[in-house]
């Protein structure tokens, strides 16, 4: 490793960081536009063409707003918590491979910030550190709603972390490596989604819950908890939490693409090959980010006991049972068709358990009287 390598790494990191920030602005704008469209509204349309500059305007506004430091807040932890929340959110993206290889002269630059051999573990670890940001923010605010929101949020995030950990294990088993780049390369012949539908569904549900997104946005249930753990935060500190949340969405989507949908792979013409890889990756990730918006617009918020039931009683047992099944199939090389069939069946079971099948019981007036 000579000095040129270090320079390349530095340039890569700086460029990726700037692009990520730009991407965040687009993701936030797109969410507001998509949700507005689904609710028959127009959404942001003043700042720039189609309101494209809205996120930047919001950022500038939050930047220049008064930063309120409540008297009851902890002097040290309160200002640090947003930073603890935002930094790991960016770090988690380092292991996402967004392209294959860029060759300039004799140098091969992997289109990934850091190709470490424990990439997937690193991603899970950064997700766990996010809990600290939330818990510390809620505790240090010295106020009721943030505290309740933080405790709820921590319980939710650690519960779904187990489900997420279980769901990636069959993928690791098939790929035989924890390096995210290695996992993508292992999908050259068949994307893992083909054999791993239950894992994918568990990952997806756990991922939505990990981001504290609707319908799992209990920690910031506006109707009960004002804004949850960041109620007392304003100005730039709020913006850091906001960026962390959207960064998590992007990273969870990107990892879903990496694990189950072949990462940067896709058919492409034979020129500008690295660029096509990046385009495929961005397209697939955008589809997942859109799914996040769609889910948010479609499903009502769960009750807290329902949330815990989904996590502990459905996702975790199914995730545990699926591991030996997929391992057995892997050894005995049962025809892939059988595997896909089994996957579809288990997937349907997962979905039917998770999605509300019963209509909510509406009590008639007499019944209401008797129960009361």
């Amino acid at each position: 490793m000579d000095w040129l390598d270090v320079v390349i790494i530095l340039v890569k990191v700086v460029v990726c960081f700037l692009l990520l920030n730009l991407l965040l602005a687009v993701v936030v704008w797109a969410e507001r536009k998509v949700i507005a469209d689904m609710q028959s509204r127009i959404g942001p349309n003043r700042a720039g063409p189609y309101g494209l500059l809205q996120s930047i305007a919001d950022g500038l506004k939050l930047f220049t707003k008064e930063d309120i430091f409540p008297l009851s807040a902890d002097r040290i932890v309160y200002p640090i918590a947003p930073i603890i929340s935002a930094v790991p959110a960016f770090l988690a993206f380092t292991v996402v491979p967004f392209g294959n290889m860029l060759s300039i002269g004799h140098r091969h630059i992997t289109l990934q910030i850091a190709d470490i051999n424990v990439g997937l573990l690193f991603f899970l670890a950064m997700g766990s550190i996010a809990v600290y940001g939330v818990a510390l923010a809620g505790w240090s605010s010295g106020s009721k709603y943030p505290l309740i929101g933080a405790v709820r949020s921590s319980a939710q995030m650690i519960s779904y972390e187990i489900a997420m950990g279980l769901s990636v294990i069959p993928v690791v088993l098939y790929a035989g490596t924890l390096s995210t780049r290695g996992i993508v390369l292992a999908q050259q012949h068949m994307w893992f989604i083909g054999a791993q539908i239950p894992s994918f569904l568990i990952y997806l549900i756990a991922g939505v819950a990990e981001c504290n997104r609707a319908p799992f946005d209990l920690p910031e249930a506006e109707t009960e908890l004002v804004a949850g753990f960041h109620t007392e935060y304003s100005g730039i500190k709020f913006m850091l939490f906001f960026m962390a949340e959207y960064m998590h969405i992007v990273t969870i989507s990107a990892i879903a693409v990496t694990l189950f949908f072949g990462g940067w792979m896709g058919p492409h013409p034979n020129f500008l090959v690295p660029l096509w890889g990046v385009l495929w990756f961005l397209g697939k990730t955008a589809a997942f980010v859109f799914l996040f918006y769609w889910v948010r617009a479609s499903f009502p918020r769960l009750r807290y006991d329902q949330l815990m039931n989904v996590g502990w009683k459905f996702l975790i047992p199914i995730g545990m049972a699926w591991i030996p099944i997929s391992a057995a199939v892997h050894i005995f090389d049962i025809r892939r068709v059988v595997l896909v069939g089994a996957g579809v069946i288990v997937g349907i079971i997962v979905l039917s358990l998770v999605l509300p099948t019963k209509k909510p019981e509406v009590l008639t007036e007499e019944e209401a009287k008797t129960t009361a």
Partner: protein, 118 residues
């Protein structure tokens, strides 16, 4: 091998610096007009009635304990999955026994109401 972590260290510094600088800069240029009402903890527009609760339903602690147990199990799966190809049949049997025992504990937990939330 450690060199592959260099970009992560760079990004850690960059993101940390970004967060710190933006917080400090914002503090410098933002208006400061504190008032006693503004600095009170939020309570829907009225003066705080009670200080924040310090006691929580014991459920949350139970979840935390369960998490510690199950997360250790999940971590155990990773090396198993990685070394699976070296001795597939034996490791499958071993892991099935392990998952079965875990399942027994899980069912016990469930039947005793450890997973109920109310």
């Amino acid at each position: 091998m450690l060199a592959s972590y260099l970009p992560i260290a760079f990004l850690l510094i960059l993101a940390g610096a970004f967060a710190l600088v933006s917080v400090t800069l914002s503090r410098l240029i933002s208006p400061k007009d504190p008032s006693p009402q503004k600095l009170m903890p939020y309570e829907c527009g009225i003066a705080e009635i009670d200080p924040p609760v310090e006691r929580f339903p014991v459920r949350f602690y139970l979840v935390a304990m369960l998490f510690v147990i199950f997360d250790v199990e999940v971590i155990l799966f990773f090396p198993w999955a990685l070394s699976f190809k070296s001795f597939p049949v034996f490791s499958l049997i071993a892991m099935s026994v392990f998952i079965f025992m875990l399942g027994v504990a899980f069912v016990y937990e469930w039947r005793n109401g450890g997973l109920e939330w109310d």
